[in-house]
Symmetry: D2
Subunit: 383 residues, 4 copies
């Protein structure tokens, strides 16, 4: 598929995600880590405007001279910006103005994409599309978080088929033998810089579950007192649990002895065979400890990936997010994309039901702080 | 004017204030002290629903069983509620649903007001109207605060004549002689419970300015180093100033040596003859100290009020908000209206250009914490 | 008694208070509001050094050029200083060095006091002595707070007779008739600037208890659910209670159904007839509300004082700490003594068993924030 | 050397470190991460009391039933304890009582060590000694931190030869060839559980500096604007720098253009050839980025260690502190020693001039949060 079609598809899909929203739902920022939908619609356009259009389309006119200040996320090289925690204070520009901004950027991108682009330009536009796909998953996560905090528990979309695949039938383990393996992206397509630096690792014999942990298994953990036994928890996990009074996964509620959870289709009974989601790394580690097992490393996961049933949840690994040998960050703002976050975060592998189509591969390194619960995260155990 | 007309007028005026808003502007809470417009529209309706309709209109049906939880402000006797700081997280109910809620309440109130009401009921409905008028001024203050924080400085309403009277021509002093004076509301109309407990005070000779301090006078204070001389400030005021890096009134900016400010009509030059506004008690005290004068007490103000030019700004007094002798709070939730806030706040007297029509009188006691700047507050000096 | 004898007596009494301390007890700062004993010993000397010796004894040599930075409390006019919260980080100078500092200052003061002093100098030295007496009470309060937090509950002094008078036999009320009364210090002796500005007030008829509230009465309040009924509390008091999980006076513990408290003589049973102490303003107000009574104003207290049994506890009044009419603060650092604290604090009248001898009078205005519990504070009710 | 002699030597060395202290210096806790000397003297004794004496010496009597509550550090399995941040509030027990506690424990340990011990007991006692040696280095770091914050900059010990070796003459690189290497402790002596799980890793070709970065090199970094160029910093490092206004290593000051630093011998000029110390991981990473190099991984360091000049500074690696394959934590409290901290910390390798004699080995894994500066930490670069 040509780049112009890819561009149109990705951009359209972002707006499709926002279809079920009311105007009010575009504005609010419920937590510092979650951005308003309106901001994300604009920010992904700002990315194209700043890194593609302004430097490479001479006749391009800024849509609004204040927007770079409003919609830069964290690129120090791209100048000052609104504090992350204050993205939700901006009722203006309105949602309609943001959609007009998108159209303005799309029109200019259409012009640019009709020209013959060199490899570097193709790479840059493709990066912008993958960037937007990352925000598509964030959009869903952030919308869910916003509605999940609302005492009315509004459904995002009662009819959505998007999130239907919630169970896996695979049981048993994949066994991998000790030896030297190669890690990192070796294909011809797109990958992020953090997947490069192809290198060898030595893995010892290990076994890894083919399927993911279910709600039913996790309910057993809860009912066995898992949230009350400090010996199962990392020290910072135990502090997190006590400080935030955590005793169950995000969105779970117990009503009259019945486990319920908020979903994108509204408030529902929890099905025991469905795969667990919205779990922090701390919870994943405690569950693994309780099972007498462990989380895989990101390298074990990558080597086993072809034999796993994956794509339903982002899977916490017990690997810290660190550079591969030979990792090089790009100069300037684009170099801020990944490298500067390589501290205090853990790697997740796989993809989730909320991940955009064509936005997953075995070498993909997702990363979050160990307390993050609002992504569609789950557990696969190893031993 | 009959109560039913009063009811209709007050309710309509609230909605008129919101006319210039876009849907997005109804939702956001920029600071804990400022509530979303949507919330205020609903809360003032909840007040009638909870205290008038449910107990007194037998056939009344709750509009939505979750709304009391969402729209109770601080009435412990009326049950649990959303945390104050989280009012801005609620994108639902939508603005349209809130307007429907208002209509539902108005219809029921219309029914009730056609019945013959006893004095207590008239009093209760009137309280609800004065409550709503208080929120009308808050609506304007909170909207201004939201727009004033937005880097785009959107105008609330370019055409508004609402806020035009910004200068006073009166200079000189009113002199009052030493003696025993009577304080508190003695009329037949409505007043809040905190104005009752009519009592005598002894005042010593004093003089009080007929007019209010202007922007020009305050610019002199700034340019004389008023924000840098700790001897002018209360100790907690000096800490507040340093911690928040305050060096000018709220909404003021200095661009190329020119004093500008954000107003409800947008970003404008400051006029030296206009009356100063958006001043904290701390700033008012420091200014008075710099002038070698002082703020009046609320009793001095009340006794002098008939000879003052007032109604342009809420005027800080150097009186703490405390009960009058003989103050009695009502039983139950209504008793929470005023009495429980009688600590750590200072009294303001008068009214401001943002105060609703017919919502001022010489005995009215407004009160805010000494760091509050976002109300239309100003300074009148005494000696 | 000559000034030199007064000086020697006051200075000696400070050191007598510290006699029972171990070296370790001089150093620590358990809370921001409580200062280390070592710091207080030095600070009260710094006061004489800075305001008396340096300007008025030409041959005086600073003991140590770093000490003014270390031991200035809050006098902006006297230069920079260690942050209040960090007074407890200074293990050096040692306690012995601080005692040597005191001796150095005392020697120089001895020289100065042998000269003929003008009235202003006498006033200044006397201010220094009253300042030191205020710190004597703080020393006791702060030591008690430090030991009361220690799980070992060490006794300050098992033999101390200092704190023995803990009950009052007086019951009944003093009745005062409506009229104009005169407030403020009118004698020839020493008073603080905040007692000046003698002025008239109008008081309405009131009655005030001759004696103070006992532990037994307060236990009734607790057992009647006083800490659970929000209707009894100021709004900020209720927040304070919930945030700090307060359910009893400071130092109280309930062991096997028995009320115990930490005292300067160690951990002891609470005696029901003893007078209640270590009560915040919020608790005092809630108790009064529960009794259907109120706290007196500071003016009522002053006018009734000659007929009251007082001196056992500092008594919360429902008067905010504000300037009297005609209050003038002194120029320079001495002017920072009282005036700049006239916001957000409540007046206490009387004195306590921990108040230094000769450091009380009917016009004395003590003041603390409404959440303060660590002083020897109690309740007297009015109606 | 027999275990009993080892015991005596280690215990005596702890007290020798405290020799230069005044009583006041034993008490204070300047930061949550730094514990009072008195607490550390007691805690290391509590370790023997709790894990060796109580379970294994039947006639042992607790010195004081409150001490376990006071001196447990973080062992949930060993019961409740004083909050970490409040260790500095405890003026009692006094320093003398703590020394008596040490003697009590030493006497009992003397008894126990004269019995024939099985291998497990030897292991347990040895663990206690290594635990105490870890606290010896903490004692020095914490004392330095306390004195380094004091405006008087008191010297810990003017004569100490302890910290004299501050420069290294080695330049150049060690080159290591690609291949499979074995990691982890394989000897017969003592090691911590986190060094076990001997396993293979694959290393690619790398070069690592023989010597450590000097003050002079770091001054170049500062003067080249290293603290002002966000492109050099991890994102959380840049936030840390801005929030704490960091612009130089801990203890550094610039006076009249001269670089000075606080040392255990007092305030001194910085020598350019001395090895840099008191550097956070964030600073180490920014420096490496500026040099166009990187930090080694802990595996690279371990494999190269026999050819490096080390033992002068703890060296930050770019390896997260995570379990080795096959890591097993011990059951019960001893299992809390290392495993529960394996999140959000970075590994340091080597040892420092403050490390106790015989307390280093090539496989030793030290770990701290990336913002920690108060340890004797430095930088070795790789490429």
């Amino acid at each position: 598929m040509g780049l112009i079609n890819q561009y149109n598809d990705v951009r359209a899909y972002t707006e499709q995600i926002c279809k079920p929203l009311q105007t009010e739902d575009y504005v609010v920022q419920v937590a510092e880590f979650a951005s308003p939908a309106k901001w994300q619609l604009a920010h992904s356009s700002w990315f194209f405007e700043t890194f593609v259009l302004l430097p490479h389309l001479p006749e391009y006119k800024l849509f609004n001279i204040d927007f770079p200040y409003l919609f830069n996320s964290y690129y120090n090289n791209a100048g000052d910006r609104v504090l992350r925690a204050k993205r939700g204070n901006l009722t203006r520009p309105t949602t309609n103005e943001v959609y007009a901004y998108r159209k303005h950027v799309d029109t200019a991108m259409g012009q640019l994409l009709q020209q013959k682009l060199d490899a570097e330009m193709v790479q840059l536009v493709t990066l912008g599309l993958h960037h937007e796909q990352q925000h598509q998953e964030l959009l869903l996560s952030d919308i869910k978080y916003m509605f999940g905090q609302n005492p009315l528990f509004p459904a995002y979309d009662l009819e959505t088929s998007l999130l239907d695949q919630e169970s896996n039938r695979e049981s048993g383990y994949v066994k991998i033998s000790e030896g030297v393996y190669t890690i990192g992206y070796q294909g011809d397509g797109f990958c992020f810089d953090n997947e490069l630096g192809v290198h060898k690792v030595y893995l010892h014999d290990f076994e890894i579950q083919k399927g993911l942990v279910t709600n039913g298994e996790y309910i057993e953990f809860i009912e066995a007192g898992g949230y009350m036994d400090f010996n199962l928890w990392l020290d910072e996990g135990w502090s997190w649990l006590k400080q935030n009074q955590v005793s169950k996964p995000l969105y779970w509620h117990q009503l009259d002895g019945q486990w319920m959870h908020y979903t994108l289709k509204g408030f529902q009974k929890i099905k025991e065979n469905d795969i667990l989601k919205h779990i922090s790394f701390y919870e994943a580690m405690a569950f693994a400890e309780w099972k007498g097992m462990r989380l895989p490393t990101e390298f074990e996961w990558e080597i086993a990936s072809s034999q796993l049933n994956w794509g339903l949840r982002w899977e916490w690994t017990n690997s810290a997010y660190l550079p591969y040998p030979g990792f090089k960050k790009a100069p300037g703002a684009i170099g801020e994309y990944n490298g500067k976050f390589m501290i205090n975060q853990m790697v997740l592998r796989g993809a989730s039901i909320a991940t955009s189509p064509k936005h997953s591969r075995p070498t993909y390194r997702n990363f979050f702080h160990p307390n993050a619960q609002w992504q569609f995260t789950g557990i696969r155990l190893a031993k």
